[in-house]
Amino acid sequence: MEWSILQQYGPSLLKGFGNTILCWALGTVFGMALGLVIALIQRYAPRWVTWIVQAYIEVIRGTPFLVQLFVLYYGGPLVGLRLDALPAGLLGLTIYGSPYFAEIFRSGFRAVPHGQIEAARAIGMSELNIVRRILLPLGLVSALPALVNFSIILTKETVILSIITVPELLYQVQRMSTETFRYLEANLVLALFFWGLVEAISRVGHRLEARITKHLVERT
């Protein structure tokens, strides 16, 4: 690859990378938030509400992300949901991630010893306080490894957003390669880049995980 190409396309690639990180970070945060809400609904809401939520989980987990994006981005305008590519991608990523995060939170909550919750109830804590002070802190710690793992998986899903023309990294690389006819080199470099990115994120994530769960290891 010649340097002049990099000089010419550097800024747009950098912008694409920025968008990739933006989509990933916001998609993860919003997806996690929605997932947490879903997990709490499944724990506390009446039976018929949990059925609706369960159906949502099955539908999102049973269909490809790409098709979900198509429904949202190309089908949305027919029902009055007119979004630009980037917001549509963000919303898509949030929706796509939420059921997986919800399942992770759910099993995290299940790992909280029942005696803890009973004890809290026995000393007269309100249900809200139990969630805030017992369920969340304990459940989140045991859900942490799975949360880190799924966030890493989401990094890779961001490239699919290029298909609905979100100007993220793959989109910019493809634009560059159609203009320079360097398809193979560009995509190969992108693959290596992603490899490094995912490895780096998983290193950082697992270190963070080890640090937060340190108190659990020391006690045993």
Binding site: E58, T63, F65, G76, K156, S162
Partner: protein, 215 residues
């Protein structure tokens, strides 16, 4: 308004295209099983270079998005002078990608077996080959069946990405259908329904196998 006529009419062509989705996923997992088993064997081998190679294989394929892998493979073929039909290229890419995950499934299943099993087999004088073919592998295969069905579900969903390289599976067919009817909402929801149907069937199969093998 949601047009039910368009919605129901799109099922015909999309079901027809579902053949390719199934073909790519099933052949993909078949190829993935073959390569994945080799990679897993390399990962567990006593030779360091083999172990290193397998570790890099797994880490690369799990670190790079499938869409990027598809594009790299798709553009590599003409450069090395191979002229294969796009369907073959798609199956090979999907299979190679799956091999990384399948080798990890095998590894997990083998690691999950109680150590006493191997020890007992060695103690009664079985040779290493018999230990593998009669004790470890049969149990590991049974243990990992649900995980493999899960992988197949992931592949059915991932196969939507091969639409990008022009294979007329469900997603690509729905794009064509959406373009001719101007009703993307109905058509894409129909496509989602078909994927959901396939995956619910597979999930039911997975639960059945899990139930049957959980003795």
């Amino acid at each position: 308004m949601f047009s039910f006529a368009v919605f129901f009419e799109s099922f015909g062509p999309l079901f027809w295209a579902a053949r390719y989705t199934l073909l790519i996923s099933v052949l993909g997992i078949g190829l993935g099983l073959v390569i994945g088993t080799l990679v897993c064997a390399a990962r567990l081998s006593p030779y360091l270079p083999l172990r290193r190679f397998a570790a890099i294989w797994v880490s690369f394929l799990r670190g790079v998005p499938l869409l990027v892998q598809l594009l790299v493979f798709y553009y590599t073929l003409p450069v090395i002078g191979l002229d294969v039909p796009p369907t073959v290229a798609a199956v090979v890419t999907v299979g190679i990608c799956a091999s990384a995950y399948i080798s990890e499934i095998w590894r997990g299943a083998i690691a999950a077996l109680p150590k006493g099993q191997t020890e007992a087999a060695v103690a009664i004088g079985m040779n290493p080959r018999d230990v593998w073919t009669r004790v470890i592998l049969p149990q590991a295969v049974t243990l990992s069946l649900p995980a493999l069905i899960n992988e197949l579900i992931l592949l059915v969903k991932a196969s939507s990405l091969v639409s990008v390289v022009g294979i007329l599976e469900i997603t690509r067919a729905s794009q064509a259908q959406a373009a001719t009817t101007f009703r993307p909402l109905e058509v894409y929801i129909a496509a989602a329904c078909i994927y959901l149907l396939i995956n619910l069937c597979l999930a039911a199969l997975g639960r059945y196998l899990e139930h049957r093998t959980a003795v």
